[in-house]
């Protein structure tokens, strides 16, 4: 359906006149204003998610958002969907419980790099290995934003944070590589500048069965941008514009991030493969076990337990 410039303008005018935001229907307006700082990239990720949700053919009632704790963790509280703001690091196990108890749900975990890869790091690799039907969106801002900017599991070597005032001595994780190696069936990385590809990646993740992982490289001007010479949120976005390279076929081993001004950020939809999802395999095992049992019953004598049950007695 073609949309004319006029229609877009009309819509924009309508929004201005009625003081309505286009995503209002999916935001909990009573929780606004939100806590995020000016220039923070989390909002873009949320909008991309909402836009993907609007375009997906999965009914809105089936969408669930689960978050851990952190600035990104706040997402669960702002979307007007079923949502759960869990404890720090445990979003994935909570979400796993939801997804396997009610496979109808389209469960998306929205959380930060610290939440998903430090304190909760164990869970993501196992959920990916198990291939649980979850979408994991990680807003990577290279630090623990919420607690005041300490270094975390994605902080690049030499980066400055409140606990590495003279530079980090550790290497940060390369998230797409880690997710792919753990078994994720869909892996993408975009930045908060790449609104449309990010939205489309999320839409694709909704379609996939199994664990999908999307990294959203995102400015945290308050705690990471300023001490690391990336400037304000807009400055960092401008740097993304200049430094990002789209390469869907990138060698994932090579795409770790230094976040230094002279480096590149490789973005793209890197992995899109099929692998049976956890519940599918679970179902297969049940069928196999039942098949073996009925075969055994056909040939062999009934077990004592079955006999007792048949006679109505307690075993």
């Amino acid at each position: 359906m073609a949309v004319s410039v006029r229609q877009v303008e009309d819509e924009a005018l309508h929004v201005i006149k009625t003081d309505r935001h286009p995503e209002d229907e999916i935001l909990r307006k009573d929780r606004l204003p939100h806590i995020w700082c000016p220039g923070c990239g989390i909002g873009v990720a949320v909008t991309a998610y909402i836009e993907a949700l609007k375009r997906s053919d999965i009914p809105r009632e089936q969408h669930v958002v689960v978050s851990g704790i952190g600035c990104t963790g706040r997402v669960a509280g702002y979307v007007n969907l079923d949502s759960y703001h869990t404890t720090h690091g445990r979003a994935i196990p909570f979400a796993t419980g939801l997804a396997i108890a009610n496979p109808e749900l389209e469960v998306t975990v929205f959380s930060g790099d610290g939440d998903l890869f430090a304190i909760g790091g164990n869970h993501i690799i196992h959920a990916a290995r198990r291939n649980v039907d979850l979408n994991v969106i990680c807003v990577n801002n290279f630090n623990y934003g919420m607690t005041g900017g300490q270094f975390g599991p994605t902080t690049p070597e030499e980066a400055k944070t409140t606990t590495t005032p003279y530079g980090n001595v550790e290497d940060g994780f390369n998230l797409p590589y880690l997710a792919a190696a753990s078994g994720a069936v869909y892996v993408a990385r975009w930045t908060s500048l790449h609104f449309r590809p990010l939205r489309d990646a999320i839409l694709r993740a909704f379609q996939k069965r199994g664990l999908t992982f999307i990294e959203v490289v995102s400015p945290c001007p308050t705690s990471f941008g300023r001490p690391n010479e990336l400037g304000e949120g807009l400055d960092e976005m401008e740097w993304y514009r200049l430094s990002c390279v789209i390469d869907h076929d990138a060698d994932l081993r090579e795409i770790g991030l230094s976040m230094r001004k002279d480096s590149h950020i490789v973005v793209g939809n890197f992995v899109d493969v099929e692998r049976p999802e956890f519940l599918e395999r679970y179902e297969r095992v049940i069928q196999r076990a039942q098949g073996q049992r009925s075969a055994a019953q056909e040939v062999g004598p009934e077990s004592k337990r079955d006999q007792a049950q048949a006679q109505g007695g307690a075993a």
């Binding site: 963790g73 720090h88 304190i119 919420m146 607690t147 005041g148 300490q150 606990t163 590495t164």
Partner: protein, 405 residues
Amino acid sequence: MAKKVLMGNHAVSYGARLSRVEVIAAYPITPQTQVVEELAEMCAWGDLNAKFIKVESEHSAMAACIGASATGARAFTATSSQGLLLMHEMLHWAAGARLPIVMANINRALAPPWSIWSEQTDSLAQRDTGWLQFYCESNQEVLDTTIQAFKISERVLLPAMIILDAFFLSHTYEPVEVPAQEAVDEFLPPYKPPLKLDVDDPHAFGALVGPDGYYEFRYNIQKAFEEAQRAIIEVGEEFGERFGRAYGLVEPFYVDDAEVVLVTSSTITSTARAVIKERRARGERVGLLKIRVFRPFPFEAVREMLLGVPKVAVIDRNLSLGHHGIFHAELKSALYGQRNAPAVFGFVAGLGGRDVTPRTIHQILDIVGSQEEPDRDVYWIGLKAKAEEGQPAGNGRKQRQRVKA
């Protein structure tokens, strides 16, 4: 000695630095972050010769402290609330392995619902883990107790927790005497563990023991807690002689001839002290007993102070759900069956950081003053009307502050 204006969290950092900690492993959580940020800065500047490692969770932080302490290093960490709960397994381990690790815990309420404000339930829920517990009233006490804790812990081979209220101490600036390094060095010599991981004298730690041995391990720890009572008193006195500020298990204020004694801990004590002063000036016979050390529980000291007092009121900023305020319950167990035991009133106040003001304390004293015996197990003070009908008091939507979890 120098006087500095320090926030409670930095008082912890200074205490740890003066104690020459050698390994610091921690994970950030509001309202603890400045403790560790300051230590990171001290390490980076070379003011403190320690290895600083920012691990991936509190569970790992305590595990790393355990490893470090097992080699004979002085190990330190700090946490709060959810972080302390996540450490729980390792807390038992540290005590069972008899490792004198010292940590600071900033008292913060537990989720859900999320809260970052002060409440003691996080640390009190660890009371059975085998850690010494010190509840501090001022930033000076925080710094002094940090230094003493290492000395006490290393003498009895038990880990120690220094506990301070979120924001009321952690983020409040107070003038603090910072002792000179040489003076602290004299008071606190380097740690010499009786056993450690040592290539020249190898030992295996953490082995399995059958029912024929385990029981005695626990008995020995219990004995160490008895010894800790003496150690806390002696170390507190020695600290007083050297630095001019003595400490004990409990701290009485106008208890001698009192008809009503309030029992408090942490910062509520300061508020209560002001109210007691005011009422004394009016000629009322009221007093106050601050409990500084909760583990080992100071049974004897408490009995000495409170037997013969007609009425005692305990104020708890904590709660054992389904039971009482925790200081209240423990105090009653210390007084039960004793001759001349007082009537004990239990008040739960200030959960989730709600202010406990002089007015609250006056209310409590008025209730206790108006009856001979408590007429219920627990008094809730300042409950909003709706909650009394069994509904939550608000939907929390009014809160627009930026809240760090």
